[in-house]
């Protein structure tokens, strides 16, 4: 995502507002629309702020409490922007047995943040996630939706540095 944490709410950003409106008009009419709309907003905007939740509630004619209930129930929905790059550690059984916690230790050392946090420059967010179903390649780290399998702690610092460096070049 291109938004940085100190930017406007997506509702106040004309380009984002357009994405939000078109998402609601595209998916708002069907049965069970709330989940579908929220899923697409999460994907297109990257997060669903409280003002966005209220806006969706009004447009779909459901209570804000219901929208918030759904957003807070599912782990895929986030209410705050993440960093530009998302590094997710799979902690499914195979990855756990295969050394995922060592990779997390290494990431903490390199970046100085815990899973769930974002680096102060807004570049990288660390997260742990449920099994991504790539168990034969354990341990798996998902960087911006690309799976990296059989990652060793010794390679991992270099992978992270590459993610940081790619930013400098761009």
């Amino acid at each position: 995502m291109t938004l940085t944490p100190n930017q406007l709410d997506p509702l106040d950003n004309p380009r984002m507002r357009q994405v939000i409106d078109s998402t609601i008009s595209e998916y708002g009419d069907q049965n069970g629309a709330l989940m579908v709309v929220l899923n697409h907003l999460q994907e297109r905007i990257g997060f669903i702020t409280k003002p966005m939740q209220a806006y969706v509630a009004e447009k779909l004619n459901v209570p804000v409490s219901k929208v918030h209930g759904v957003v807070s129930f599912y782990s895929f929905f986030t209410t705050e922007p993440r960093g530009k790059h998302l590094v997710k550690f799979c902690i499914g059984t195979a990855c756990y047995v295969g050394g995922a916690s060592q990779l997390i230790d290494k990431a903490k050392q390199v970046l100085g943040i815990e899973p769930g946090q974002t680096t102060s420059d807004g570049l990288i967010t660390l997260e742990v996630c449920r099994c991504v179903g790539a168990c034969s390649q354990a341990p798996v780290v998902v960087i911006d939706e690309v799976n990296h399998g059989r990652v060793k702690p010794s390679q991992f610092a270099r992978i992270l540095t590459e993610v940081q460096k790619s930013e400098v070049v761009a």
């Binding site: 995502m1 291109t2 380009r15 984002m16 994405v19 049965n31 069970g32 629309a33 709330l34 989940m35 579908v36 929220l38 899923n39 697409h40 999460q42 994907e43 297109r44 905007i45 219901k66 209930g69 759904v70 129930f73 599912y74 782990s75 895929f76 929905f77 530009k84 902690i91 499914g92 059984t93 195979a94 756990y96 047995v97 295969g98 050394g99 916690s101 060592q102 230790d105 290494k106 903490k108 050392q109 996630c129 449920r130 099994c131 991504v132 179903g133 790539a134 168990c135 034969s136 390649q137 354990a138 911006d144 939706e145 690309v146 060793k152 702690p153 010794s154 761009a170």
Partner: protein, 594 residues
């Protein structure tokens, strides 16, 4: 019926839109029209193709799979000219091919029988004609032209096909109940919320052979009398979702979905709904709540979904693999199908072999094969010649089975009697270096986090179990913990509403049953026999083996290792977090756990 020879997927990520994806799409449509290709090439939006930051705006062209990146309206013309008119890829805008080797699914091993996995890797999942070429949709044609709904249900009953999601309920019976329900409309739902860690059979089927699932669903819908279907797929599987959407679109174009399917007068359509990362949504009533747009909380059964499901209407729910079995049974016949499997469990089952086994990946075997055959003959035994300790089947609601259970046949009843479950098919093999208390703690961490919170025994009980297990792993366990765990487990099983709560204690119960000595070692001797639990171990460097190569010191995440080059290194146990990286990177086996 419209038939397109190519499909262009345009990435509609916000970043791509920002970089001009809409203009690129508009120009693309103009260029195609200019060359009279509008009837032959369709243009679709897709949330994202490549990395929007580096690739966008980008398009993906099927069936070739060509990925053109960094497009502008000006570059669209040459691509249309070269790709669609001259039939060659324009290298200068093409992304480098990514490695797509399918290492999850090698050649079938000797004892495998592949029915569900048969087509995967052999057909192009994004081209319906590939599926039709391998007898796809033949079963549907037979059903619609020759069989009554009752015939179909009877055939599935006779096949003894049982739910592959893990519970093993007879599929034919489920369909019969849904057919008999008086209310209308009826719904057909496919549970593709494969949440068990360590299981990825369904993902592979959805990504590699989506039409087999669609065909099974359409046949089932005809039998049950449903006109609308939903596939509920977990959000962790974006590729499966996009493959399914392409398959559904193509099936509609071929008249296999929609109104008047194959001229039979039967209407049925399917929509994909995405989950959002909640494990409990694999439970059928929670799944239905989620499709309805609510929090995924299970409800009391009865009424079962067959009488009151989606929006209060009769609903049939089956797992991906169950549906994929249906066309095979109809097309190849009962005799063939029932020749495989055991007395009560017919057919095959896919498993995801993972963990400390030599050959990891997907396998498919006739039901009733022993664990030993699966792990040793197909899986190639334990990695690095280590000793087998346990196999975990059935995911977080399953159990750990020890070496003494290796000769048990894998079917619903036997695994259930042994204290585990069949589950959806995750099979994680653990070697001697695995601590069973730690594994129980790992699963309990999972279930207490995924508990939806609706009922107290599960919400609070799993949390209490986790605290006790954490205490034991930290070397602070007390003798009373063992009876306390037993009591908690039985209360949670008895008083929880859904399968998650009722199954949550299984990993604890099964490890306490088969590996009680490990619990006792942690509690009484403050010792972790497998040398895993961090509070109970220390790392040391052997002076006679250390060459002073500095690899360990450079890799230590907390800089706890000191030493000059070519001198023996030392670990400061005060700083050491016992992550074990030093042991892993040492080339001279100089790091030992005490």
């Amino acid at each position: 019926m419209a038939y397109y020879r190519s499909t262009v997927l345009v990435s509609m990520d916000p970043v791509c839109i920002d970089k001009g994806a809409l203009d690129v799409k508009e120009q693309l449509i103009k260029e195609l029209a200019k060359h009279n290709l509008s009837e032959e090439v369709q243009v679709l939006d897709i949330p994202r193709v490549g990395d929007p930051d580096t690739d966008g705006p980008d398009i993906l062209v099927y069936p070739e799979g060509s990925h053109y990146i960094q497009l502008t309206p000006a570059t669209v013309g040459p691509i249309v000219m070269e790709h669609f008119i001259k039939g060659r890829e324009l290298q200068q805008y093409k992304a480098q091919m990514r490695d797509v080797t399918d290492e999850e699914l090698g050649e079938p091993k000797d004892k495998e029988i592949r029915i569900i996995l048969e087509n995967i890797g052999k057909i192009d999942p994004r081209n319906i004609e590939d599926y039709i070429a391998v007898d796809g949709y033949q079963a549907l044609a037979k059903v619609l032209s020759e069989m009554s709904p009752e015939d179909v249900i009877q055939t599935i009953l006779d096949s003894k096909l049982r739910g592959r999601g893990g519970a093993g309920f007879p599929t034919g019976l489920k369909w019969k109940f849904a057919r008999q329900a008086p209310d209308t409309p009826k719904y057909m739902v496919c549970n593709a919320d494969e949440g068990d860690p360590g299981a990825f059979m369904n993902r592979k089927v959805l990504e590699g052979d989506p039409h087999s699932v669609l065909e099974g669903m359409i046949i089932g819908a005809y039998a049950v009398g449903a006109n609308q279907g939903y596939i509920y797929c977990r959000a962790e599987y974006p590729i499966a979702v996009s493959t399914l959407n392409i398959a559904i679109k193509q099936a509609r174009e071929y008249g296999l979905l929609g109104k008047d399917i194959l001229g039979s007068g039967f209407d049925f359509d399917i929509e994909v709904r995405m989950g959002a990362g909640a494990f409990v949504c694999g439970e059928e009533t929670a799944l239905l709540a989620s499709i309805e747009g609510n929090r995924g909380e299970p409800r009391v059964r009865p009424p079962f979904p067959a009488s009151k499901g989606l929006w209060g209407k009769p609903t049939n729910i089956n797992n991906v693999e169950t549906y994929a079995n249906v066309p095979k049974i109809i097309f190849r016949g009962l005799e063939w199908y029932t020749s495989m499997g055991s007395e009560k469990s017919k057919g095959t089952k896919t498993f995801a072999l993972a963990g400390d086994v030599a050959n990891t990946g997907l396998i498919e075997v006739p039901l009733g094969m022993t664990l030993r055959e699966i792990i040793y003959d197909i899986g190639g035994g334990i990695k690095e010649g280590k000793a087998f300790k346990a196999v975990q089947t059935g995911g977080p609601m399953g159990g750990c089975l020890p070496a003494s259970n290796l000769d048990l046949p894998v079917d619903y009843e036997t695994l259930g009697a042994a204290g585990s479950i069949m589950g959806s098919g995750g099979m994680i093999v653990m070697d001697e270096d695995t601590c069973m208390v730690d594994i129980a703690r790992f699963f309990m961490e999972f279930t207490q986090d995924e508990s939806c919170g609706k009922c107290v025994p599960c919400r609070v009980g799993t949390r209490r179990i986790l605290e006790i297990l954490e205490r034991i792993c930290a070397g602070k366990g007390v003798p009373e913990d063992i009876p306390l765990l037993r009591e908690l487990c039985s209360e949670i099983i008895q008083d929880s509403l859904c399968g998650l709560g009722q199954g949550a204690p299984n990993p604890v119960i099964s490890t306490m049953k088969h590996f009680l000595d490990e619990y006792e070692a942690h509690i009484y001797e403050k010792r972790c026999p497998a040398k895993v639990c961090r509070s109970l171990i220390t790392f040391e460097i052997l002076a006679d083996k250390c060459t002073g190569c500095t690899v360990c010191a450079r890799n230590c995440p907390v800089s706890a290792i000191t030493g000059e080059r070519k001198q023996t290194h030392v670990i400061n146990t005060e700083i050491c977090i016992r992550c074990g990286i030093c042991k892993q990177v040492c080339n001279f086996d100089a790091v030992v756990i005490k």
